[in-house]
Amino acid sequence: MVTCKKGEDDPAVSLLSRKSRLTGEWHLEKGSVTIGIKDSTGAYGGYIFNFDGTSYTQVYTGNSSRVDGKAELSISFTKKGDFTLTQKLDNLKLESSGTWDFQGRVGKNKNKENITLHLSTISGTSDDFSFFNKGNFDFMYSLKELRNKKMVVFCNEEMVMLDSGAGIYVTAEYTFVQ
């Protein structure tokens, strides 16, 4: 009847299943996203976004220029495996829905440690790597902390677009509350 710890900051034991804890409507409390761009020599530049739930700052590491703006992010999961996602970044807005599932236990991964999401419908733009879906229709996050009313997801230097010489990588951590 109990589910044991999977993510780094999970409760040691929970009476609720991981699916039950994930289900519900989540709103962004804070987040950080680094979009790293590696060129063919390995040199690394990028943009660093910090979110506080209603606004964001963006710093370009090349010249430290800074941009401030409004941002919102909410995601709602159902037990049936559906989700809806809304993200606003200034005047860009992405409204989408799709299906979600946990990943199993193959290789180094613990069972249900990661979540995969697939977008089926999209309204607005999704081609910005700073967005939750990382510019992709299929994307995933590791669950660092999954509690009844708090969820922390992250990805670490995940490649979102790459060729054999250069690439774009996303490192992100989002803290949601219900």
């Binding site: 990943q103 290789g107 249900k112 995969t116 999209i122 309204s123 733009t125 060729d163």
Partner: protein, 191 residues
């Protein structure tokens, strides 16, 4: 021990050792786990793919070495070319793919995993691939198997010792105006 007890214990052991059908064309029962069956070096036997946008369609058929492409638009066109695809899946959760699409090569490696059965899909019915290293080519080009993405999911239609049939479908591009492009694929592999 009674005959009934022996039979009961034997039945429990058999149930623990076998895996039941997940995909549409899976064997009813298999003594090998899905991880064991999926692991190995797979070579493309045949396949098909379709890219559809508003008023436009590219329909591909593969025979393991080449492809035929039917383009349906204002002027229908037929192309032929080389198409080869190899897939190595390892038990430790890593994989390697090598796709040659009319000379455009994508050699990439990464990790794979099964789904856990949330929603409509059965547990281990889908396999999720994530590319984390590209040795040759690029992930967002003309290569189809990775669905123009670093993360891509396939439904396993048939998983046997020496035969694998996987399918995928869905959008891979959309813009702010609501235009979108879909891709559906089916690959038949053998070992």
């Amino acid at each position: 021990m009674t005959q009934f007890c022996k039979l009961f214990i034997f039945s429990v052991i058999v149930l623990l050792l076998t895996e039941c059908k997940k995909g549409e064309d899976d064997p009813s029962v298999s003594l090998r786990t899905r991880t064991s069956r999926l692991s190995g070096e797979w070579r493309l036997l045949s396949g098909k793919a379709s890219i559809t946008a508003q008023g436009y369609n590219e329909s591909y058929t593969f025979d393991g070495a080449g492809m035929k492409v039917n383009v349906t638009s204002y002027y229908p066109v037929v192309y032929t070319g080389k198409y080869m695809l190899g897939l190595k899946v390892y038990k430790d959760g890593t994989f390697f793919m090598n796709e040659n699409f009319a000379g455009l090569v994508l050699e990439a490696e990464g990790t794979w995993n099964f789904n856990t059965g949330v929603g409509e899909h059965k547990k281990k019915e889908n396999v999720i691939f994530s590319i984390d290293k590209v040795k040759k080519g690029y992930t967002y080009g003309s290569n189809l198997f990775n669905r123009f993405s670093v993360n891509f999911t396939y439904s396993i239609k048939e998983l046997r010792n020496k035969r694998l049939v996987i399918t995928s479908e869905g959008k891979f591009y959309s813009d702010a105006k609501g235009n979108y492009v879909t891709l559906s694929t089916e690959y038949i592999f053998q070992q």
